[in-house]
Symmetry: C2
Subunit: 476 residues, 2 copies
């Protein structure tokens, strides 16, 4: 095992896709199962997801949302009730046809998403404006029978949360759609150290059945965008298809306005790619399952292990997620192991440190080595973790800003794609121009950013009048 | 809606099964979905499960366990690898046969339990004694195609945790099996206020593929036992079937020793039945999603709402789970509503209380009304919650002890069944005697309790020598 773990991984510049897979496996984030496309979320990968869950669950509850659990299967007849929706998901369905040895009359779809289940339930429990809003969320896995899969980025099964809400008014539902997008954006800034580009999806790119879709997009170091979360305003479409009606304040029956929103374990893919390097994973401190690793150096020397334990206990007491490795592996081996695992801060303690009343700290993101007095440990570790988080966010932010290129013609668009990142383009609003760009460059409209500052009035594709700013990019 | 909620429920003595279903629905713990046997875990029911999860997840992590997530589907060929195991589960399988519009060659079983997936993964990641123990747990749902279903007690899908561990030695694995049973027992004592009977299952009743199964059993007020959690020692059976081998300290290859253990949302059924009464749910304070409900009385009178808010804020600040209902429903309506929901403690505040600087507290479990000085609120609420928990546990404990009847012949056995609860019987150890009891009385051996104090040496069924004490009961 030691040799395998310690061997170097593919370099990013040699083969970025292979580097990604290497990190996923060698940092023990996941493993493949015997069913194609279904992965195993190993403890270290799952623990990152638990940190994301803890952050979001708190934010959801603070904003009045409640968790529920809906069935894992959807009758085919139920999925078909909303036309656009079923068209979007039918090709990816995994379908159960036998139960307890008997053929099932109305086959059961393993849930790819639960709009239909929630709306059917809402039809039963909403009858008056007093029952609104309903603000429900579900933590679960969903299944989508994908042909080409990649760990965390696209899989036959992934973990996610799906919020589904019902509101009395359009305004309230639209506010919810944007509010949840803000919470996703906060997640990026507060703990993932990832700056997202936020905006509205074009009609071509929106969710099956939605009136409007918003997304957060992250930019990967290979120049491709990764859609990292979406929120949808459904209007009254599902409510009408499922006959959800309530008696309004005016005594009349009305259809409620609906939203849904979700993020998934795809965020792990974003973390790996945005921050990782040729030594492996680099985890942002507030999402790292282990924030600090304590490693004794020359641990066979008297006093080293007790000194390491003391540091460990001191840090543990402050509530930090800290680990001490006093196994009989060499210190050098341990250094690479925990670099691969992306632990933000390493604490080294050896005979010389002890003699000097000192401790050595090493930052994973920069490799910077800092020697401090033992008494400064708690303060310094805490301030360094904050510093690391900021540095990681700022580095990603700089990269993002350097890779948004304003383009006004085809040549500039191609150059932007060559460079990687977003081509920021004025757009006429016609689907035909989006299709043409996709066909010629494989780039898609990622979003119409909220910050709409027109810099031209001509669509470079058709030459017609353009009023909308769109970010195009190749995407995962 | 108001009328429906406020109408009374079936009385326990009139129809216990109907009372149970009424409470499940009227306390808004669950709802039925359009797929038979699959229920919807509504916010209030799910929130109880979240409290159980929080307690157990902490205990699991403190004892070195790590969470993982395995695929939701198991190839039919994989499930068949362990003979006893597949025989136990095959009749209940839900099977997916179509993916992305194409027939699947090796059909996929929606997981009924994940021993096979864990063992297959362990075969890949265990190669040396240094890799042991592996202490994994998974929070998920499982599907079992049951014909007769009841909310929480038996369903086509339920939520649970499943621990799966691998150990170097038999002794270590056996210790784990018992350690986890203790944690389940602690759960009952610490937060569910339910005394469990603990013991080993007979071979007839053990888990499919296990060498030994242990269980915690709870006694319901209708005299039936409810198996509430199990832990299993597998020996090397799965390891051999899946070829999991490790290099031991002696350099030789060996098979590890395996355990699994789980509790499920069935525990909600236990809570409902053990504690509930004719006014609805009665929740133990440490598992209640809302521990204290503040209700303003004559709230239209000046000063009442502000006083109620002040009490709410005071309690909220202490970290209690508290809710204030200042809706325009009558106080009487609110009293019944929150009694139905089983909230342990009610805080009432009206004009007369305000005048006297007093607050009225009402205990859900006994109906006891206590008037206190406003300044005593925080201390009194906290001590009352503790008192309520103890009273609830003691009441259940008394009931349990009053319903364990030592029997030495068939007549006494029948009388014990008539009375309800356990028949404590000496048993020869032969399956034939178990079968006969089941056939004649429908009772099953619930467990061989750890506390084995023989009170006879004859098996009352066959008259042969008996050394084992067994608890028999009718069961859910």
């Amino acid at each position: 095992m030691e040799q395998i773990k310690n061997q170097s991984i593919t370099r990013q510049e040699d083969d970025f896709a292979q580097w990604y897979t290497d990190v996923c496996r060698k940092a023990e984030l996941m493993d493949y199962s015997s069913v194609k496309g279904f992965i195993i979320y190993r403890p270290y990968g799952y623990a990152i997801w638990e940190q994301i869950q803890a952050y979001l669950d708190k934010r959801f509850k603070e904003t009045g949302h409640e968790n529920v659990y809906m069935p894992t299967v959807i009758p085919a007849s139920l999925l078909q009730k909303e036309k656009d929706h079923v068209e979007g998901f039918a090709p990816e369905c995994l379908i159960a046809t036998v139960g307890g040895g008997t053929k099932i009359d109305d086959p059961l779809i393993i849930r790819p998403t639960s709009e239909t289940l929630f709306t059917e339930h809402y039809a039963k429990i909403i009858s008056s404006y007093r029952d609104l809003p309903k603000l429900y969320n579900q933590w679960c896995s969903v299944v989508r029978w994908e042909k080409t899969t990649r760990p965390f980025l696209r899989g036959a099964e992934f973990l996610w949360q799906e919020g589904h809400t019902m509101h009395e008014t359009e305004e309230e539902a639209r506010t919810e759609t944007l509010k949840m997008l803000e919470i996703y954006d906060d997640l990026g800034r507060d703990i993932l150290a990832i700056p997202f580009s936020k905006g509205r999806k074009t009609d071509k790119e929106k969710f099956a059945g939605a009136e409007e879709t918003y997304s957060i997009e992250a930019l990967m170091p290979d120049g491709k965008a990764l859609q990292s979360g979406t929120t949808h305003y459904f209007g009254q479409g599902f409510a009408k298809a499922f006959n959800v009606q309530f008696q309004g304040r005016d005594g009349k029956l009305a259809y409620p306005h609906q939203t849904s929103w979700g993020v998934s374990t795809r965020l792990l893919g974003a973390i790996i790619m945005v921050h990782g390097d040729d030594n492996g994973l680099v985890l942002p401190p507030y999402v790292a399952p282990i924030q600090v690793i304590v490693i004794p150096v020359a641990q066979q020397k008297p006093g080293v292990i007790p000194a390491a334990r003391e540091l460990y206990n001191t840090l543990k007491e402050t509530g930090l997620r800290v680990k001490l490795d006093e196994s009989d592996k060499t210190a050098g081996w341990k250094f690479s192991e925990y670099e691969m695992k992306g632990i933000p801060l390493r604490v080294e303690i050896g005979p010389r440190d002890i003699e000097n009343g000192a401790v050595t700290l090493v930052k994973r993101n920069t490799g910077e080595k800092i020697t401090i007095k033992k008494e400064e440990l708690v303060d310094k570790v805490s301030s360094l973790l904050e510093e690391i988080h900021k540095e990681m966010y700022q580095k990603a932010y700089r990269y993002l800003n350097e890779h948004i290129t304003e383009v006004t013609n085809k040549e500039e668009f191609d150059q932007a794609m060559e460079k990687g990142g977003y081509a920021k383009m004025m757009w006429c609003g016609n689907r035909a121009c989006e299709d043409k760009i996709k066909e010629e460059t494989n780039a898609t409209a990622r979003c119409l950013p909220f910050n709409q500052i027109p810099f031209s009035d001509v669509c470079p594709v058709c030459g017609k009048k353009a009023e909308k700013v769109v970010l195009f990019a190749k995407a995962y």
